[in-house]
């Protein structure tokens, strides 16, 4: 065909030091001390005209988002990595090198900040039915119990805030995100805390602190969940 535009682009996942080894299926596009993790993508899939529709195709999105995560995950514990948000696409490799040139200082600062560290996620869940209390014998006791349940929900929110403070003091950096709504989690428990913490890779201090919190709050109907290690998604902004 005559006059067709190039049908491929370069999808950039993140930035690593130039001495890193590439992840399977990706290239490292080097410039100076930095390298962009890139893969060739078809513009029939990632072109500007088709992308809005693709983004609303749940199966497509899930697949691509999981690939993005898997590529970045392969660097965790191996070399520092700066995660880019989903969908950084360039027409040619010259544009990718220009990105490294223009934003190089910021990328290097983030790489230094996250070097030797990983992101861990902590969620706290509240289930009022798990609050331990003596069985109600009389009507008066029953009413008191209902009042306790209401106040225990308020207490749980305060406990979650205090838990975040404690975890943040154990971590090198901390971010608190919006708890996921029940429609998204599909769980009966209420998510009280959705935190992300930057901690030294392989250090057990943080996990031990989460375990201590879990033990302390067992009777209050609050459970803790630890996720990761993740690439430092929550600690990637240059000015963070």
């Amino acid at each position: 065909m005559i006059g067709t535009t190039p049908a491929v682009g370069w999808y950039v996942f993140g930035v690593v030091p130039s001495d890193a080894a590439p992840a399977p299926g990706t290239y490292l596009v080097e410039r100076g001390p930095l390298a962009a993790i890139a893969a060739e993508v078809s513009l029939a899939e990632f072109g500007e005209e088709v992308l809005p529709e693709r983004l609303n195709d749940r199966a497509w999105l899930e697949e691509k988002v999981r690939v993005h995560e898997a590529v970045l995950q392969s660097f965790v514990g191996v070399t520092p990595v700066v995660p880019l948000r989903f969908g950084a696409i360039y027409h040619d490799l010259g544009d990718v090198r220009r990105l490294l040139a223009e934003r190089g200082e910021g990328f290097e600062a983030v790489l230094e900040r996250v070097r030797g560290r990983v992101e861990l996620g902590v969620k706290a869940w509240f289930d009022p039915t798990r609050v331990t209390r003596p069985a109600a014998g009389s009507g008066r006791e029953y009413l008191q119990q209902r009042r306790d349940e209401l106040s225990s929900a308020r207490d749980a929110a305060a406990v979650a805030a205090a838990a975040h403070e404690r975890l943040a003091s154990t971590a090198d950096a901390a971010v608190v995100n919006r708890p996921h709504p029940r429609e998204l989690t599909g769980r009966d428990e209420q998510m009280l805390l959705n935190g992300a913490y930057l901690v030294p890779d392989g250090d057990e201090t943080f996990a031990a602190e989460v375990a201590r919190l879990a033990e302390e709050q067992l009777g209050a109907g609050i459970t803790f969940e630890l996720t990761g290690p993740w690439p430092p998604y929550n600690f990637a902004e240059d000015d963070a």
Partner: protein
């Protein structure tokens, strides 16, 4: 049981929860203006859609979203029957039946 056993740890070999991955990959990380524009609005629409997709009809009812139940065009056992019987009544009155 040690205190460590109280904490549910997903990670390592276990596949991460989709919501956790979506939150990080779509909402975190450095924003780059590439050659191809991804419109934030599309992403926002998408997260709203995802939330609704994840919610089953039962969950929606629990949340108090039950507008379809009172809508005669959408519900067979809602206002629809009443409307139908009212029409039948009127038809009888004017001798159509």
């Amino acid at each position: 049981m040690s205190a460590r056993d109280l904490v549910h740890h997903s990670g390592g070999a276990a596949p991460a929860q989709l919501a956790d991955v979506l939150e990080r990959v779509l909402d975190k990380g450095i924003v780059i203006a590439g050659d191809i524009q991804i419109h934030l609005l599309d992403i926002e629409l998408l997260t709203i859609k995802l939330r609704l997709l994840v919610a089953s009809a039962d969950k929606a009812k629990e949340m108090g979203i039950d507008w379809w139940q009172g809508d005669p065009f959408l519900s067979r056992n809602g206002g629809d029957n009443k409307l139908e019987s009212r029409i039948k009544e009127l038809e009888k009155k004017v001798g159509l039946e």
